[in-house]
């Protein structure tokens, strides 16, 4: 019994001293998860957007300039979500 008590005490002590490390690990895990999840939607979105733009340019090459400008605009708006995810990653990981 006394051995078990000693082990429990040591584990509790280790848990209190490693609280900061545990928090850092949780922060790192949360950061990775945040960025990974934030990248899914914009990845699909940008792929679809550029694919459709290429199709439009191939069908109507004379409208390529206009399509390209609109494509970059769409990419900029879609990409913002992934970049906010990246900022959350930085905040969770380093701050």
């Amino acid at each position: 019994m006394s051995v078990l008590a000693t082990v429990a005490q040591e584990v509790a002590q280790a848990a209190t001293t490693d609280k900061a490390t545990g928090q850092a690990i949780a922060g790192a895990q949360g950061a990775g998860l945040a960025y990974g999840l934030a990248a899914i939607g914009p990845g699909i979105g940008i792929g679809y957007l550029v694919g459709q733009s290429v199709q439009a340019m191939a069908r109507q090459p004379e409208a390529a300039g206009m399509v390209r400008t609109t494509m970059f605009l769409g990419i900029a708006f879609t990409e913002a979500l992934a970049l906010i995810g990246f900022v959350v990653f930085i905040l969770l990981k380093f701050v």
Binding site: F72, A80, V87, F94
Partner: protein, 255 residues
């Protein structure tokens, strides 16, 4: 720490000590400020060189004229329309300033994009925000501009409870925020990417067994440097085109 690879803390890769003066002083001048001053000087010099009006352009005049033609054809004609030539100086200086600040990401001995600190993009986004609001007020009058922006026509009356707060947030709060965050996060991500591969190369150099991986890592570093050159151009282009879109939206009210 993985296999002896120790990534430096984020303070060490984005915060720079003052070149002169004590730390925390109001007149402190560090690398970011130096890059901003250089970008300002180069932009001004390009404007002065572009004022030469030779019929057959040479050298710097050629560069300036082709950039101005690019901004005129690729950005203003596509977004604002024919009447937008008056905004060319603002958009050109915005483009050059952001481009030169970004290019310092891959210039040797600097290797730091000035826009990877939030202050620079935030100021540029606030200037753009103030500029498009002033353009809207000047061209439509304050009442008409804010009425058109907050109460878009063609919406049923009852829906304004929902639409007006959304328009207020998306036009006047999210626009400058997303402009600044887009530029900042892109440049910071590129900087961290380059730092990661540089640290990897330096670590593999001293590890005896893993040195066979070093060529691949070095190849990635070189390839990513080329990729960051592309990103520097693209982000300057996207910031300018979004500024032009916002100005165009303030200039032509929706019907």
């Amino acid at each position: 720490m993985i296999f002896g690879l120790e990534f430096p803390p984020i303070q060490n890769i984005v915060e720079w000590p003052n070149i002169f003066g004590p730390a925390d002083s109001w007149y402190g001048f560090n690398k970011i400020a130096l890059i901003n001053i250089v970008a300002l000087a180069v932009t001004s010099i390009l404007f002065i060189l572009g004022m030469k009006r030779q019929l057959v352009p040479k050298g710097a005049q050629n560069l300036v004229e082709s950039t101005v033609a690019f901004i005129d054809d690729g950005i203003i004609k596509q977004t604002i329309g024919e009447g937008g030539l008056g905004y060319l100086p603002f958009l050109t200086s915005l483009f050059f300033f952001i481009l030169i600040c970004n290019l310092f990401e891959i210039i040797p001995f600097f290797h730091m994009p000035a826009n990877a600190r939030m202050a620079g993009p935030a100021v540029l986004a606030l200037i753009t925000w103030g500029y498009f609001i002033v353009v809207g007020i000047k061209h439509q009058g304050p009442g008409h501009y804010f009425k058109g922006a907050l109460f878009p026509p063609g919406v049923p009356k009852a829906l304004y409870i929902l639409v007006t707060p959304i328009e207020l947030i998306s036009t006047f709060i999210v626009r400058p925020f997303s402009l600044a965050v887009r530029l900042f996060a892109n440049m910071l991500a590129g900087h961290i990417l380059l730092v990661t591969f540089s640290v990897l190369c330096a670590t593999l150099w001293v590890l005896s067994a893993l040195v066979v991986v070093l060529p691949f890592s070095f190849f990635m570093l070189v390839a990513l440097t080329g990729f960051e050159l592309l990103v520097a151009f693209l982000q300057a282009y996207i910031f300018t085109i979004l500024a032009a879109v916002y100005i165009g939206g303030a200039l032509h009210p929706e019907h």
